[in-house]
């Protein structure tokens, strides 16, 4: 396949970037999207040019590093798939593909397609943890969990923190990420002691990091590679309402 790529190039956090056009030839439909970028980068390197910087690590859809906007779609056109797991057979010979970094105030561009997602760590630090005694592991049967709760918690735990939800959201909101974490922990017995301080802490950290407010637009869940459902946000809202009603929020 021969393709035209238009890629966002930006040399550093403070510099101005722009879209640059490249041609790539002889791309195999069996390559992954990142391998296609590797081919481009090899050619750029040989020509003495600066290769396109992009984040990646596992290349198997579990680490959450590889996010990029592909033709206006977070992680590209295939649903439930990270950019690293996307294959070139999703495109046709002669296509023009626009590649941009996530756009959000909370995710500043580091270089080219690489953004800094530390803001997600701030949300986690706001309450996305449980307190456990260290030492011996507790007896597993001592804390029974209903099957339905275990399944729902597991579904939410699949979030890989990639940031696609923020990138696609018309409000630039990180609520789906926060809701996935809140849901996972508030459904399990281990998450109960901090349940109501957690939700307030995480929402506060979310707002402070400069994310926008959620209006349930639902773009996030469409692009989420792990299919985190939108109703997790309802669970977050309910815990939040309960927390503010109980006024145990700020101690």
């Amino acid at each position: 396949m021969n393709l035209t790529l238009r890629i966002w190039r930006q040399t550093g956090p403070e510099t101005k970037g722009r879209m640059v056009t490249y041609q790539v030839e002889d791309i195999s439909p069996d390559m992954s999207f990142l391998e296609m970028l590797d081919v481009l980068n090899e050619r750029l390197t040989l020509a003495g040019e600066e290769p396109v910087a992009f984040d990646h690590d596992c290349r198997e859809g579990i680490c959450g590093m590889c996010g990029m906007m592909i033709n206006g779609n977070a992680h590209g056109p295939q649903r439930g798939t990270t950019a690293c797991q996307l294959h070139m057979r999703q495109f046709t010979d002669g296509d023009t593909i626009d590649i941009e970094p996530w756009r959000a105030r909370a995710f500043p561009v580091v270089k080219d397609l690489v953004v800094n997602r530390n803001a997600f760590d701030q949300i986690i630090a706001g309450g996305g943890f449980v307190t456990v005694p260290t030492g011996s592991a507790p007896e597993a049967h001592a804390a029974p969990v209903a099957k339905a709760d275990a399944d729902a918690a597991f579904e939410s735990a699949a979030c890989i923190g990639c940031g696609a939800c923020v990138a696609a959201c018309p409000n630039g909101s990180g609520m789906l990420f926060a809701a996935a974490k809140v849901t996972q922990l508030s459904l399990l017995p281990q998450g109960q002691p901090e349940r109501y301080t957690r939700v307030v802490g995480m929402v506060d950290a979310h707002d402070e990091a400069g994310f926008g407010g959620c209006t349930n637009a639902g773009e996030c869940t469409v692009v989420c590679p792990k299919g985190i459902p939108l109703h997790t946000i309802g669970r977050l809202n309910r815990d939040y309402l309960a927390a503010t009603a109980k006024n145990t929020a700020r101690s």
Partner: protein, 210 residues
């Protein structure tokens, strides 16, 4: 957003039911309009209840628009650099048109008050004959009024579909079954309300109400 929206929803339901009185005759409709002003007497002087309600609606609307503006400003500052290439809508169309839809509805509400409440833009504009005002409004030769009215009500239908769904979520709807129910409920509600508002002008247009 959800709470102020729900106050407006309550008003919209009552207002639609009241409008449907036009099908039981001019007499009834005019009596209903009079009753609105009479409501609460003798506890309240004549017309006071209506003013209380108008005040409450205005507060709800102002709070609603304030909250929407805050959300829009936050959204703007959350994405300082726009995408060069953006897929238009992947979620719901109604959700993506809440802001412009809301502005269109607000403009319509202003026009609507000047038309049928104060009578300034109505061909008859006689406050003692509300039924005649309505009939004159949607007369066939004033088709553009009916057209504008229809567009505004359709915009309202979209606004309510996402609004009701979103409000249920804001108030804690949290399961997959609940989500399906909320979607269905919002759709049925939005369609029912739009139809309820549209039958009046179309009945006048077709000469069923005169």
């Amino acid at each position: 957003m959800a709470v102020t929206g729900l106050v407006l929803v309550l008003f919209l339901v009552a207002h639609m039911l009241g409008n449907l009185k036009i099908f039981t005759g001019a007499e009834d409709f005019n009596h209903y309009a009079h009753w609105l002003r009479d409501l609460g007497t003798p506890l309240l002087p004549y017309g006071w209840y209506l003013w209380l309600q108008r005040g409450a609606l205005l507060v709800a609307l102002a709070a609603h628009i304030w909250a929407a503006t805050m959300l829009a400003l936050r959204a703007r500052s959350a994405r300082p650099v726009r995408y060069a290439h953006r897929k238009k809508v992947q979620g719901s169309y109604a959700a993506r048109t809440m802001r412009w839809g809301g502005v269109i509805i607000a403009l319509f509400v202003i026009y609507h008050i000047l038309d049928l409440t104060t009578g300034h833009l109505n061909p008859i504009g006689d406050p003692t004959r509300p039924q005649a005002n309505v009939v004159a409004d949607f007369a066939p030769e004033r088709w553009y009024v009916t057209l504008f009215y229809t567009l505004a009500v359709v915009a309202l239908g979209f606004h309510l579909r996402h609004g009701a769904y979103s409000a249920l979520r804001s108030l804690g709807q949290q399961t997959p079954q609940g989500e399906r129910r909320a979607r269905g409920l919002a759709l049925v509600f939005a369609v029912a309300l739009s139809v309820g508002y549209l039958v009046v002008p179309f009945a006048v247009l077709l000469g069923l109400v005169r």
